[in-house]
Amino acid sequence: MEISQTEEKELSVDILEIKKEILKMIWLAQSGHPGGSLSCISLIYILYKNIMNIDSNNPNWEDRDIFILSKGHAAPALYAVLSKVGFIKKEDLFTLRKFGSKLQGHPTKNLKLGIEISTGSLGMGFSTSIGCALAAKLDNKDKKIFALLGDGELNEGVIWEAAMAASHYKLDNLIAVIDRNGIQSDGSTEEIMALEPLADKWKAFGWHVIEIDGSNIKDIINGFEKACNTFRKPTVIISYLIKGSDVSFMEHTKKYHGKPPNKEEYEIAITEIDKQIKRIQGDL
């Protein structure tokens, strides 16, 4: 799929606007995970906007593509995108983590809201995606299963159990996407539990590996398209991203992995993102 420069800029602005929603949700909740929500939002938004076959008016549609946010702590990112594409009312976003809200701190299954399965305890969502992919094959359905994984999440043993099973069963309808921002809760992924050489690990497990610049929209779209046209093996897209991206003081740090901004920080963050939006719109 070729996209024009104008479309690319519109997507960039949308992503920045969604980042503002994410920050507002977490700031109002005064808890949550801004760093890993900001990093992966481009992937989730482009999946829902440009790649997946879904229908917010028919969330039970049998032939829909499936998205599983295995890194469930990025729930604000998922909720904000589901709001943008019509599953969740915008005003409900700001009930995140509040008593009685449907929008729990981590995703809880609610098909009407577009949430396929509960996630948050890391590693589990990825193995669930294996079952979805096997079931789709069994039913001869031409549908894709997308699972978004954090890089820290790859420490979990079940990730590698699932990786073995996916290539064993030649699940070419399964696409894993890794938010490779390099930082987990306690620090750098390479300091805590080294992942590199990550691409080689997935290759050794029998996967088709695509590496992309996750901040480049064309790169993301091309990556997904290549993945969707891979046969006889599953694909993993290792997407190099920046933790806390587009908010200067949240970038490349573990500090905002699980810490909300205070009022002053929130306002600075919004100002920074607004400046970027204006810069892009000035170019439009």
Binding site: E62, T108, S127, I130, G131, C132, A133, A135, L138, E161
Partner: protein, 312 residues
């Protein structure tokens, strides 16, 4: 049917019902030969999935099948399924998914020894909301419970032994989770109500005539295959007139069925209860006869416990 191991009953049930339950898929973690799901795999290879020795991924994948409108039957050893992959089962129950966890090798497993004995699984499973926890007392009941579970949406844990269970029901037995299954009627008021869970029911049956005769007491026996959810009203109505209760279960006495029922009885009609189970141990290797005897599932010990109960 009493000589047929429980796992053979399971394997036969699955293969005979493959056409009836078209959405059924059977999952294994490299134990299809041990659990006899291999015969399903031979007849329905497209609906059988082996995940290798990876219980966590097997159960994670079962959740994916369930949200894709399949009915996964997750088969494994009781310990590895409930222990290794507990949090995956928790999440399946959290989302109230239509998954049937059917395990074998529960209780005192025999030669495999302490590392393979599942004496804690009822504790692990009974605390999970939404989960139905069922322990058939004999082969007739295994089939009836499987049929009930397959026809009832939601998560189920069905606990089976490795070997065979003695017959306690007639072939026309029907399973109703709300009715209390009295397998030996007593008097209007009984000195003892013995409550068997799984093999505990046949252990109770085997000793009851001699106990009644030797101790000159009246005994009623309930086969309690429903560990959760218990129909408390019906249960209490059937035990309220009995003086004392003895629970018999192949499970750790900490947080097994005895613990569950002690709470329910103490809250609703307090009376003395004792549990014959495994006391704070992981089990050990040995023949089944040796193990049952060592852990006190024998006539003399049951008699001693009942005498203590009567004195109390």
């Amino acid at each position: 049917m009493s000589n047929i191991p429980a796992r053979d009953i399971l394997g036969k049930f699955l293969v005979e019902n493959g056409d009836k339950y078209e959405n059924m898929v059977v999952l294994s973690a490299d134990l299809s030969l041990s659990i006899k799901t291999d015969i399903f795999a031979q007849k329905y290879p497209e609906r059988f999935f082996n995940f290798g020795i990876a219980e966590q991924n097997m159960i994670g994948a079962s959740m994916g099948f369930a949200i894709s409108n399949k009915m996964p039957i997750v088969c494994g050893f009781s310990l590895f399924t409930t222990g290794r992959a507990w949090e995956f089962i928790r999440l399946a129950c959290h989302d109230n998914l239509n998954i049937k966890f059917v395990t074998t090798h529960a209780g005192l497993v025999g030669g495999d020894g302490s590392t393979h004995s599942a004496l804690e699984d009822l504790s692990l499973m009974s605390c999970l909301p939404n989960l139905n926890v069922l322990v058939p007392g004999d082969n007739v009941e295994i089939e009836k419970i499987l049929e009930y579970a397959f026809n009832t949406p939601g998560p189920f844990y069905i606990r089976l032994p490795r070997g065979s269970l003695e017959d306690i029901h007639k072939k026309d037995f029907t399973f109703n989770p709300n009715s209390i299954d009295i397998i030996k009627e007593g008097n209007e008021i009984n000195d003892i109500c013995m409550i068997g869970v799984g093999s505990g029911s046949s252990i109770a049956i085997q000793s009851v005539s001699k106990l009644e005769k030797d101790l000159n007491i009246s005994i009623k026996i309930i086969n309690q295959s429903v560990v959760k959810p218990i129909n408390i009203k019906n249960f209490i109505s059937r035990i309220k007139n009995d003086k004392c209760i003895l629970v018999i279960e192949e499970h750790n006495t900490y947080c097994g069925f005895g613990s569950i029922i002690s709470r329910i009885v103490s809250e609703n009609c307090p009376k003395y209860i004792k549990t014959l189970g495994i006391e704070n141990s992981f089990g050990q290797s040995g023949s089944r006869i040796e193990l049952l005897d060592y852990y006190g599932f024998n006539y003399e010990n049951i008699k001693k416990i009942i005498l203590d109960l009567i004195k109390s």
